[in-house]
Symmetry: C2
Amino acid sequence: MKIAIPRETALRETRVAATPETVKKYVAMGHAVAVQSGAGVASAIPDTAYAEAGASIAADYAATVDGADVVFKVRAPSAEELPALKDGAAVIALCDPYRNPLLADYAARKLDVYAMELVPRTTRAQAMDVLSSQANIAGYKAVLLAAEYYPRFFPMMMTAAGTVKPARVLILGAGVAGLQAIATAKRLGAVVEAFDVRPVAKEQVESLGGKFVEVPLNEEEKKQAETAGGYAREMSDDYKQRQAALVDKHARNADIVITTALIPGRPAPVLIKPETVAGMKYGAVLVDLAVENGGNCPLSRLNEVVTTDNGVKLVGYGNLAGLVAADASALYARNLLNFAGLILDKEKGYVVNREDDIVAASLVTHAGDVLFGKG
Amino acid sequence: MKIAIPRETALRETRVAATPETVKKYVAMGHAVAVQSGAGVASAIPDTAYAEAGASIAADYAATVDGADVVFKVRAPSAEELPALKDGAAVIALCDPYRNPLLADYAARKLDVYAMELVPRTTRAQAMDVLSSQANIAGYKAVLLAAEYYPRFFPMMMTAAGTVKPARVLILGAGVAGLQAIATAKRLGAVVEAFDVRPVAKEQVESLGGKFVEVPLNEEEKKQAETAGGYAREMSDDYKQRQAALVDKHARNADIVITTALIPGRPAPVLIKPETVAGMKYGAVLVDLAVENGGNCPLSRLNEVVTTDNGVKLVGYGNLAGLVAADASALYARNLLNFAGLILDKEKGYVVNREDDIVAASLVTHAGDVLFGKG
């Protein structure tokens, strides 16, 4: 069976869907692997490393995917990338299913497209959980970006010229990205506070040395606060008002604010209002990890660093994981390798087992139908 | 007495020679302080903060220094900045005395120019040691820059998608910058090795959790290795060969190399040869803190990031302390405040006490004479 690893074409996409480590494993299983020349360069993987792992290097996209049964990608195929794919091929990628306008085109080509974002967040699926692996990296990079734009030290420094205070970091949302941001900011010596609507986050925040900022909840809210899938859900207006006042107060005292709140399939919640930014310190930095989904701060701009009139820097880079390209690719490629175990059979080759809950959740087009949203 | 704080005009100079904290102290001593509008903006200090501390805000450079007895600056006056200064004024700044072509011009204006780089590295002078305070920041920033360009995590990560190895960092030169780089890289979770020609550095490196890379020394070399002033001195050709072989070997195994070796008044020593860079890992990063003095690697380019054919990134930013502008200014301003105690007398105002060893060492022009190099 032929597996193809194209070079990504999306703007600012530095990742690649296989590494020499995973190529070696596919080859050991008996598959032929074609890697497009240059596919790994932005992830610090030269063609020679893939060749040494047993891949053939294809000169261009068409030659890479020509006759391939399975195509591993980072981003879903663009309209330009569709014609060269074999009829009925399987494509595994981050498909942005809620916003992808091409699902019907994938179906028309009878492709089996798997959206890795839809892999359920269950114990069995952990090793395939690309949202977690990439959010982990994004949380790390968010702190490094904050340190890049923050004009002071993170750690406290005691020097002959006097003492420098540690940075005060506020992290909104203590999911995978938020927890890694807490850990990284603590490593660098900052004083860290974190906020999350899920009361269960308190213990995790505190175990990393962060201080948990709590909105007092009533009994009904406590019950509602946890939802399936590990995501935060939307809360009542009254709760939101109390939350907003608390976040506003802590953001004004912070040197750095990192926001990580996402709701799948919906615009990101606004956590930092323009009034709050106006009250923040001169020289403070806000890194908005939700900027690709509208932003947790409405003043953030995608792939820009905005400096406000009161000297606050709003850092709005998208695809933060892609800024740590080599490890982002390494973990993403391992996620795909683990996922491949569900769809690649030693005897039968590529199989579609829709009884498997992970396959069922992630398969968005099959046999000419768009399955996503029909669940 | 009037003290002036001009806005810096040198390219990429973000620092300022006084902060609201130090302005308040000068004002409390009875001095009038004029700050040029915008002087602190790049250090996250708005004019209003200086005004609140008691300074008057002057619209331009000429108005700032008009009639000033003492001018605190970051960089030595340029030819354009000389005419507006009062005859015989004192100017305290980083003067780059070994390379500054304007010393005779300063003398012709009868200025008392003090080069803060020449403050001796004695216990009494520690609180005025701008080289240390700025090198400390440069060492911190060097690690953050390395993390910015390195495509992998610094810390080891154990994730559901497998384990990621920690970055291996090699630091050449364990002076103030090197030691802070070791500390910061360790904080971020890297495995750190460091090298210095001074055997005494071993204990300091190890106390920060780094591994000391040792060139075996003969008895004569051991005696020579320590010099006055705390700087490394030049060693024999035989020693240099053993050192070069050892550095080459460790650099090839490193993910990140940070070089910090400087010799005052001379070009920086070459520690990383082009052959070594050619043998480094694809994706490795070299940050050359000596780039303004010719570089510890001849392939580094000032204020550029060079990517070699074998995928090594050579990061050559100058003035790294200026990239952490607010704290760099805070510490520099405190250094100057402490130095001011030597030249500002409560009764007599500005005084030149050439009996004082710190004054004597740092005064480069006085009463029409160039003193520097005549010692």
